[in-house]
């Protein structure tokens, strides 16, 4: 693995190559009217086990970035590297969670999760045991045979997270997974996610609108500004883990939130009168 990345590193830098790297990524959407500049030379990197959040206002290209990172959409310039190798097609080494749950309404909870196993030709027995264990860990045991229609929004999103975790993906990509949930459910989901991440030492790239969600969950917060989508700042969050809800009221948490907010104020996205 290191040999491979060394070969891809022309200037042979000595530092550890990042697990995941975005290099000068640009994306322009051609439309009937004027072309849309969604991303303008965006660069970021992520180490294994790191939780990185991307925060930014609506339309700043967060989803675009995530879709390109997943290999589901092509870049107009620049590239995505995983372990030093450029991504050329849909990545299979990921778990993907969308803003909507994207459950198949004709499959029950368990078989929605087992779709992952079927697609990857995993052994049925252990995969199913793991699916049940995941469901239990998010408090959904007993709901294996319910169809999505009979679940609440938060429960559906939990199922879709279980589906994304079934194969223990080396990289978890989440696009505003809690965006559609109420504040209380959202807090619970953040705590659940933190625990799941700690248990499995996961590498997560997480898109959100919410500053406090980003600060709460992340090791690193990437702040984006729109038109065109650019990275304005990257803030390292140095808070002890596991983080508690009470920490959100603490001075250091407030300090980090303020830092993110200041970027939006400085770039004119927020105006204080």
């Amino acid at each position: 693995m290191t040999m491979m990345s060394a070969a891809h590193e022309p200037n042979g830098r000595a530092e550890v190559p990042a697990f995941f790297e975005v290099r000068s990524l640009s994306k322009v959407y051609a439309t009937e009217a004027a072309p849309v500049r969604a991303l303008d030379r965006v660069s970021l990197s992520q180490q294994r086990g790191e939780f990185v959040s991307i925060v930014g206002p609506s339309g700043c290209g967060k989803s675009t970035l995530l879709m390109i990172a997943a290999g589901l959409s092509g870049a107009s310039g620049g590239q995505i590297l995983v372990d030093g190798a450029p991504v050329t097609g849909a990545r299979k080494d990921i778990g993907l969670v969308f803003q909507s749950h994207v459950l198949l309404e004709w499959r029950n909870t368990l078989s929605n999760i087992m779709l992952q196993a079927e697609a990857r030709r995993m052994d049925r027995k252990p995969a199913e045991a793991r699916a049940r264990e995941l469901l239990r860990s998010v408090g959904l045991d007993g709901f294996e045979h319910q169809y999505p229609k009979a679940l609440s929004g938060g429960m559906r999103q939990r199922v879709s997270i279980c589906r994304a975790l079934l194969h223990d993906p080396p990289h978890l990509l989440m696009d505003e997974p809690f965006g559609a949930l109420d504040a209380l459910t959202r807090d619970q989901m953040q705590l659940d996610l933190q625990r799941l991440c700690a248990d499995r030492n996961m590498t997560v790239l997480f898109v959100t609108h919410s500053i406090s969600e980003a600060v709460f969950l992340s090791d690193k917060v990437v702040v984006m500004t729109p038109r065109p989508g650019k990275i304005d700042r990257v803030i390292d969050i140095d808070l002890p883990r596991p983080r508690t809800l009470a920490m959100r009221e603490g001075p250091r948490f407030a300090q980090y939130s303020r830092e993110v907010l200041d970027v939006f104020v400085a770039s004119g996205i927020l105006r204080e009168n």
Binding site: A70, A90, S100, V102, N108, A119, Y147, K149, A150
Partner: protein, 295 residues
């Protein structure tokens, strides 16, 4: 009953003011709910039947009061009598028409769905065949019926083909629409979990299109009945359409009505079969809510 309302209005007795425990309230709500559900179930069946009986009675009595002659409007009892007298014949002809409808419908499904898939999968098909199909839909299919009699004779074949022709379009168009209307995220999901194109179709795109396909099939089965009857009108020697023509020729209005009723029953039964297939193919549509209460 009256003492209860008295008590609550005046609030005299303190022990009456004690709020019921939640278990007691729950039991009462549940009881009321079951009673209401049973009532709903009964009225859903009883009311339409009552309405039909009232209507038939009004028809039976009203016809004579207004003084309409029997050959214009037979009474329900006369129609029933005609149905019973001709039951062997009606059954035989209904069998013929039913067979034509089912064959025409089956043909339109067997050709329509694969064609829709081809249109959806191949840009060549979607750009060449689909526009032709859509514009061909404007042709009134019944107008083609005489031509089919010329080409295929007076047997069953032309009726099956007319039923097919008229039932075919909703199948194709609804299937194409169903396959095309899918959230982009579902396709993204399929790609990221490593499903092949074929597996994506089998596991995601096709089941996702099923509601739309069945909507098409339900339109299609109704139209297939129309197609078969039109075929029998134009050139037939069997089937309920032919019976209608015969009854018409001999001014036997009671038989005419009897055949119309038979045709309606046939159409309804076939429609119900398609609905049954729909429920079997998509069990989540009604089972979900049922299971929800116990889970």
């Amino acid at each position: 009953m009256s003492s209860m309302t008295d008590g609550s209005r005046i609030g005299r007795a303190p022990d009456h003011d004690d709020p019921l425990s939640i278990e007691a309230v729950e039991a009462r709500v549940q009881r009321e709910q079951t009673r209401r559900a049973r009532h709903d179930r009964v009225t859903r069946v009883v009311y339409p039947i009552a309405a039909v009986i009232v209507l038939l009675a009004a028809w039976e009595l009203g016809r004579d009061m207004v003084g309409l002659p029997r050959f214009l409007l037979p009474s329900p009892t006369e129609i029933l009598d005609a149905m019973l007298r001709n039951r062997a014949m009606l059954l035989r002809e209904a069998w013929v028409t039913g067979l034509e409808v089912v064959l025409g419908f089956a043909l339109s499904v067997a050709i329509g769905i694969p064609l829709a898939v081809a249109i959806f999968q191949s840009p060549l098909f979607s750009k060449s065949v689909y526009p032709i199909l859509v514009s061909f839909q404007a042709v009134p299919k019944v107008a083609v019926a005489p031509l089919f009699i010329v080409w295929f004779g007076f047997g069953m074949l032309p009726k099956v083909l007319i039923a097919f022709l008229i039932a075919f379009f909703p199948v194709v168009i609804n299937t194409v629409m169903g396959l095309a209307s899918i959230e982009r995220e579902k396709i993204h999901l399929a790609r990221s979990i490593g499903l092949s194109k074929f597996e994506t179709f089998r596991l995601i795109r096709f089941p996702n299109a099923l509601p739309s396909i069945f909507a098409g099939l339900k339109i299609s089965i109704t139209l297939a009945v129309v197609g078969a009857v039109v075929g029998e009108f134009v050139g037939g020697n069997a089937g309920l359409g032919y019976t209608l023509m015969l009854a018409n020729g001999s001014m036997d209005t009671a038989l005419l009505f009897a055949a119309i009723f038979a045709l309606s029953f046939l159409g309804y039964a076939l429609f119900w079969l398609v609905e049954l297939a729909e429920r079997l193919c998509m069990p989540h549509l009604d089972r979900a809510s049922l299971r929800g209460e116990t889970g």
